[in-house]
Symmetry: C2
Subunit: 354 residues, 2 copies
């Protein structure tokens, strides 16, 4: 049963300023290698056993050009690029993708996956997905729980329940981002894993569960797809119809209600959501051109645009990011606060520096 | 007796990289205010009682355009711009300036002064020079000792001797840069001051002392001036003749030998040679445009080119300098090591980033 990657790349965060911004968010930048994070995600599946060679891309219409260019640069042809006029969270993405797949590849499975994550052991990751395919084909919407490496309070957690088949279990519960004590308790039990927002499903099962638990989302999303304007691989969802789609996550809309929630965990695939510069620094193998000059400096991450030279003298534990006229210097253990810079720039009306 | 400022602006250091470089050294940059350090130096004397309105400038021919532009921008007309084909240290400068002044203003005094220093209390500084004028007119080559504020090992020291007249004393000794213990001892006695390289003299006296103690320097310098090519205010010293001038400092060539060395000290004029970014940070009132974004950050100096935005998050005690494609991040207490960056860039052949 062929697995169809459905790669979500419509989001835009603020904690990777100045590189990531609304005009060209995180996933389209060469953050951790010489390819963009989106390209790395696409290539993870390209040519892999069991995966369809042509991925489905779901994004905001604003990024259509970026997506086409970046796919062309790595020689990947998409099955379709589903373009939203505006963001409506992941339930809408799941609904549109399931409707699209049900029509185009009714016998396949869909793999809803974010485009902006790093995976250090792709073989482990792909193996886990293949291992879950029979359960997903049997109607379960299967999530993948990342093996937690620390009591992180920044992720939702999945509690594994009774074994279902092979490495797949029922989901006992989805847990919101915990406080520190709760996160430590989760880590100690071994029954909790990080919710990475990855879902494997048969289109028919996803549509049935949406119909049961989120009928308004399904109806409005289906209408937006039915009225879409097709332009080659690009499927422009109808703006009027799409504006009526309620905005909520697939977790809230379906996963927390369905009896068909399954989880394969722990997946120990060296996963990172590279959500902060500190996390980028932990996994990046990207090289700056020219290489930075380091004088008596240690444990620093430098991320400079091509042609920008950064010199460090007598400093330690810093992240330095240079992107043309925007320069960030932050302590490695404070990179979660970088969003405050974006807020300050907005407050001061300095749009050119966002 | 009119005092003629002779402003020396031919030097180029490496510790203020990336702003200061060979093509446009320190003194021509807006380091501590919205004017360049050279302009601030010129304006310090412009219109001051007792000083000639038209300064003499001595520099390298490479900076003739910069000098003309920066003087025009502040509305100052130079008496002359004496241009060296190459640097030959301060004895040559003193010799050329003394010869020039002896011909052009035989009744005046010359004040040899570096162009790249900060002076926070210009009235104190100018008052000290005026107070020393009678002694200088009497034939003494008078230096000005800066009141030391710390046991600095980076400066030469002047030991004051027997009183001569008013606030001026004989020089007991010139001292090389001391070690830390010696510097502390100097500070404790109160008889030592920093040698800032500032000299007040009558042209005839300077020429006589050069003739007595450095006749080769005087002869070759005089020949280079005699054969100079005049172009408006610019006096291009003859390259062939000037190449023969021995390169040494006025301290070594004359001051350590003459019986006519005098010193006015301590001059408590909030002087700084702004030789490192840390020192720049101590005295700068320059504002960045746009202003930096500071999030939980303290005690940092940001010096960014116009239009470059620097954001600091959770850092302390840093200097961040952004000059287009060259970015420096250093600890405030390590800025003396910035020259190592320039060396590394030269070693790597990265001329475009010098």
């Amino acid at each position: 049963m062929t697995i169809h990657p459905v790669i979500m790349c419509g989001g835009a965060g603020t904690r990777l300023w100045p590189v990531s911004n609304q005009a060209c968010p995180k996933q389209f930048h060469s953050l951790v290698s010489d390819k963009s994070v989106f390209q790395e995600t696409v290539l993870r599946f390209a040519g892999a056993d069991g995966f369809h060679a042509e991925p489905v891309i779901v994004s905001n219409a604003a990024y259509a050009g970026l997506i086409a260019d970046q796919l062309a640069a790595i020689g990947v042809t998409p099955a379709a690029i589903l373009l939203e006029p505006e963001g409506r969270n992941t339930a809408a993405v799941a609904a549109v993708a399931a409707r699209y797949l049900a029509a185009a590849f009714p016998d396949g499975l869909g793999l809803l996956v974010p485009s902006d994550h790093f995976i250090g052991r792709p073989d482990v990751f792909l193996g886990a997905i293949r291992a879950a395919a029979p359960v997903a084909a049997g109607g379960y919407i299967t999530t993948f729980g990342i093996a937690p490496s620390r009591p992180d309070t920044g992720f939702g957690y999945i509690q594994s329940g009774a074994p279902l088949s092979g490495p797949v279990a029922r989901v006992a519960a989805f847990k919101e981002k915990p406080d520190a004590a709760t996160a430590a308790a989760y880590l100690a039990t071994g029954a909790y894993s990080w919710n990475a927002g990855i879902f494997l499903f048969s289109p028919a099962a996803m549509l049935a569960e949406l119909a049961a638990h989120a009928p308004a989302i399904l109806a409005t999303s289906a209408a937006a797809l039915a009225a879409a304007r097709i332009d080659g691989a690009c499927v422009h969802l109808d703006p009027v119809a799409f504006a009526a789609v309620p905005s909520t996550s697939i977790d809230y809309a379906v996963m927390e209600h369905t009896a068909l929630a399954a989880v394969l965990a722990p997946v120990d695939c060296a996963w990172s959501d590279i959500g902060t510069w500190s996390m980028v620094g932990e996994v990046s193998s990207r090289e700056n051109t020219p290489a930075p000059v380091l004088i008596n400096s240690e444990n620093c991450l430098v991320h400079a645009a091509d042609g920008q030279l950064v010199a460090l003298v007598g400093v330690e534990g810093l992240v330095v990011v240079a992107d043309g006229n925007r320069i960030l210097v932050t302590a490695r253990d404070r990179t979660q606060d970088v969003g405050a810079v974006v807020k300050a720039l907005k407050d001061r009306g300095l749009k050119d520096f966002l």
